[in-house]
């Protein structure tokens, strides 16, 4: 009896862990987009949450009005958002390339507000219900249940993380991205097309944001204009926690935030869950001021 009780507690805990992994993997995907854009132009792209939201809306339209198959829903939403992301960079951020960083931050806030209110006008405030675009099966591992959506979400974010990390560290184009992020003029002198490199980064980041948005809306059923705000903020925190600008860091941060959030709700307090997430972030940063995977490089003088 006692043994049974123990097993039950463990199962409950594992179930909660899986819940956390699910949220975490979505945060991770969105965080990767944040981190990429941050990495290259040192801009906290506040509009990333809204990219995610629009991505979800396009997927919603693709799935309901056009009845496209899953892969086409994902792909179309990612492509459209990649284009929109590049356009936003071109219109709103490029003119501020050489301006103080905080000014670009304000523009990003402006873009975020703009997109949110645009969505409000186009789509109206009431949430749309996202159809279940993935085949829904529940897998049972003993007492623990995992839905196929959860597995797909986790799989996709791991896949993209590894892919992107390799891309940035190992390929020539990836090195070019890092070069641009460090010194644009020097990058030009190497023959790198800076504008194109930045556009590419925005395209990739926005496509991932869109994917995150679709997964988020599938997991939590709804699509609505302000849906990007909270996950956007959480993903941003995740990116910082892992070490902003570092792709595996974003991933790690996403998973940690997801876990902490879920376990806090399960075992400590739901009302204080967000506060605890922030408290953990702060504590981690106090001990590791550049995030978990951030390098503690001191400025050489």
């Amino acid at each position: 009896m006692l043994f049974y009780k123990g097993g039950y507690i463990v199962n409950l805990f594992l179930q909660q862990l899986i819940n956390g992994l699910n949220v975490g993997s979505i945060y991770a995907l969105i965080a990767i987009g944040y981190t990429m854009v941050y990495g290259i132009i040192k801009l906290i792209n506040f509009a990333h949450g809204e990219i995610m939201m629009f991505g979800a809306y396009f997927a919603f339209i693709a799935a309901t009005s056009f009845q496209l198959p899953v892969w086409a829903v994902l792909l179309s939403s990612m492509v459209i958002m990649a284009i929109i992301g590049v356009t936003i960079e071109f219109v709103a951020y490029r003119p501020l390339r050489n301006a103080p960083r905080l000014s670009a931050l304000i523009t990003a806030i402006g873009v975020s507000l703009f997109l949110q209110n645009l969505a409000l006008i186009i789509f109206k405030p009431d949430p749309k219900v996202m159809p279940k675009i993935f085949p829904e099966t529940i897998y049972k591992l003993g007492e623990i249940e995992i839905s196929s959506t959860t597995l797909i979400t986790i799989g996709l974010s791991l896949f993209f993380m590894v892919l992107l990390d390799l891309y940035i560290r190992k390929t020539k184009q990836g090195r070019a991205m890092r070069a641009v992020s460090e010194d644009k003029d020097a990058a030009i002198l190497m023959g790198i097309n800076v504008n194109r490199t930045i556009s590419l980064t925005f395209a990739v980041g926005s496509a991932l944001g869109a994917l995150g948005g679709v997964l988020f809306s599938v997991a939590y059923i709804q699509v609505y204009p302000t849906m990007g705000v909270m996950p956007g903020l959480k993903a941003f925190i995740a990116a910082v926690l892992g070490g902003i600008g570092i792709i595996p860091g974003a991933m790690l941060g996403g998973f940690i935030i997801g876990m902490v959030e879920t376990l806090t709700k399960a075992y400590l307090s739901t009302t204080w869950a967000d506060a605890i997430v922030f408290a953990i972030l702060i504590i981690v940063l106090l001990f590791k001021p550049t995030g978990i995977l951030g390098k503690n490089t001191r400025e050489k003088v």
Partner: protein, 335 residues
């Protein structure tokens, strides 16, 4: 030099008093109705908030995105204090209660600024930004869950003590104090950290101490802003002090020009009045507001005034100068 300074003092004093008199007359004759007075009061409060944030963002050069948290602390602390004071039934004049409440709000917020700033200020830039967001969210969540101040439903029954007349003079006083701070030994030390922290250390500035000082002062003045807010609204809701409110203040500061107090003032006026002017556009209002924000930043990335201050004296002189030049040209033609 000294003569010029005296002249500048005189001109500024005249301008401040004249502005007040204009408002005074408009209000007394009811030309300005309560709607406008309400906006004017909120504008003054936002000016205080923006200027105080400018100490951290502009002088110290740190990205602080949690100013609403300190405002909340100041608002709640002062409200609890003044409610107790009013309940005690002591026959105190309103203004006196308000000033005491402001001091309480400012000091409590300042203490929190000190407590939060001390461990966190060794973080740089964006990392500091996120931590300040974190703290202000924790503060907000605290007030949502804290029964004695009404929790999520809010704190009701705060005596309304703020009117345009007192808020105007308090704003002027705060503006002067922050301005003189910027031009003192302490202000210079804080600014040097913004310019180059390593060089500041090498010049003998105890950077940590001055960072904490700047942060606490900003929190102190934010607390005063919060106190005024509480005693104007007479009702406090934790949800007001969310992330977006902090962002709103930050936008004001950057748009006015980091480090420019006159910039903060102008920008606070514009960004408080603009949404009101757009009110009749209903749902398009925020769309327009955000567009204006983007366009302003693209065309004026360093903010309205950059890092410099608007000088009334210089402005008047340039007007006179232009007139003189014009006169001489006119004269030339005549002869």
């Amino acid at each position: 030099m000294d003569h010029n300074k005296k002249k500048a003092y005189l001109i500024n004093t005249i301008a401040i008093v004249a502005t007040y008199l204009v408002f005074f007359v408009l209000i007394q004759t009811k030309t300005m109705n309560n709607y406008f007075v309400g906006i004017a009061i909120m504008t003054c409060i936002m000016i205080i908030m923006a200027m105080s944030l400018n100490i951290v963002a502009g002088f110290l050069g740190e990205m602080a995105l949690g100013h609403a948290g300190f405002m909340a602390i100041g608002a709640y602390a002062s409200a609890v204090f003044s409610m107790a004071l009013v309940d005690s039934g002591l026959p105190l004049p309103k203004l006196f209660i308000l000033i005491l409440a402001m001091i309480v709000g400012g000091v409590v917020a300042g203490i929190f600024g000190f407590l939060i700033g001390t461990p966190t200020l060794r973080l740089r830039g964006d990392y500091l930004g996120i931590v300040t967001i974190g703290f202000s969210e924790i503060i907000r969540i605290f007030f949502i869950n804290f029964g004695p101040t009404g929790g999520a439903a809010g704190l009701k029954g705060i005596t309304r003590l703020v009117n345009f007349h007192n808020v105007y003079w308090i704003t002027i006083l705060v503006a002067i104090l922050i301005f003189t701070l910027g031009r003192s030994k302490q202000g210079r030390a804080i600014i040097s950290i913004r310019e180059d922290e390593i060089a500041a250390e090498a010049a003998g500035i105890p950077t940590t101490r001055y960072k904490v000082l700047g942060f606490s002062l900003a929190a102190f003045f934010a607390g005063i802003g919060g106190a005024l807010y509480a005693h104007y609204q007479s009702f406090l809701e934790p949800s007001k002090f969310g992330f977006m409110f902090s962002i709103e203040m930050f936008v004001i500061v950057v748009l006015g020009g980091l480090g420019s107090l006159t910039g903060s003032i102008i920008s606070a006026i514009v960004l408080t009045v603009l949404p009101e002017m757009l009110r009749s556009f209903s749902e398009y209002r925020l769309l327009i507001y955000s567009l204006v924000l983007i366009i302003m930043m693209i065309f004026r990335p360093q903010g309205i005034f950059g890092r410099s201050e608007f000088s009334l004296t210089a402005f008047i002189e340039s007007l006179i100068q232009r007139k003189k030049v014009k006169n001489s040209i006119d004269g030339g033609e005549a002869s």
